[in-house]
Amino acid sequence: MGSKKRPATEINASSMADIAFLLLVFFLVTTTIDVERGITVRLPEWSEEPPENIQINKRNVFTVLVNAQNQLLVRGEQANVDELRERAKEFIMNPSKKEDLAEFPNAAIISLKNDRGTKYGTYIEVYNELKAAYNELWEEESMTQFGEHYSDDLPKAKKDKIKAKIPFVLSEAEATSYGEESK
């Protein structure tokens, strides 16, 4: 038999790079590296009974109302979002022991009430400021108590100690419906 051995023909691989590049570009374009982030909240449990009437000293409550025009009413007077953080911090810690601010940080309650016509963006902005006030206080507390930054790496025991001193209490009242958007 004529077993003539042909030299093995080499496959031309130069187009391999092109194919790989094509796939690469496809994945580059479709990739989104953003991590899902957001403000985490814990909703209060639902109960059918109307809440009990607990007597709370008025000085311990920091009421924030947002109306359908996205205006703020903080403790009965009109306010701006910019000053909310500082006012909340002062209210919670009460450094100069004023009569009308919270007795102790762990007695402070922040009450947030919005309208059904409030813009969601404004609501998040307000919520963000109130949360920022607490985060800043926790950070300060952490630095004075432990000399460490308040972060995810802080041991849970230390976090609990800080949160026992300055608990995050934000109560949301049932929304009013003066400015409901027409369907």
Partner: protein, 160 residues
């Protein structure tokens, strides 16, 4: 001595491109691994608001998304412009949320079910009414862990 004389000068040697596919493949695999395809096709316009106090959502399998926003332009002739809820791939109402949450719950191990988070991806420009309804519904069915999706950044909007 002329034996070892190097030949040079007349032509520049061609750069070997044989390793190019390898390099490209490495990049390709990298992107293939980190890519997460967008699994839902958005039917509502969602531009989440900006905030600074953000937390990361840890485990993707424990999160379900509730989109709220105005219908995209191509759906406005059917669904109007009022804010709507989108679950998975279709327009839904508040009444569909319990079943949606329950379906997601079934896919999660019982031990981890209390860590399920509802991520509310809500457009910054809509009003709170519909969000309030969704929140009330979530409270009623005991799904209390909620995350308001937001982007990093500070926006100073004046009340108008």
């Amino acid at each position: 001595m002329g034996k070892f004389k190097k030949k040079r000068g007349d032509t520049t040697p061609a750069i070997s491109t044989a390793s190019l596919p390898d390099i490209v493949f490495i990049l390709l695999f990298f992107f293939m691994v980190i890519t997460k395809m967008r699994e839902t096709d958005l039917k509502v316009k969602v531009q989440v608001p900006q905030a600074t106090e953000l937390e990361k959502l840890e485990q993707k399998s424990l999160v379900h998304f509730i989109y709220i926003g105005r219908p995209m332009e191509r759906f406005q002739s059917i669904y109007g412009t009022a804010p709507r809820i989108q679950l998975d791939d279709s327009f839904k109402t508040v009444e569909d949320i319990p079943l949606f949450v329950e379906n997601h719950k079934q896919t999660v191990q019982p031990a981890l079910r209390n860590r399920i988070t509802s991520s509310l991806r809500v457009d910054g420009d809509i009003t709170m009414g519909i969000v309030q309804d969704v929140k009330t519904k979530l409270r009623r069915i005991g799904q209390l862990k909620v995350n308001y999706a937001a982007r990093r950044g500070v926006v100073k909007e004046k009340a108008d």
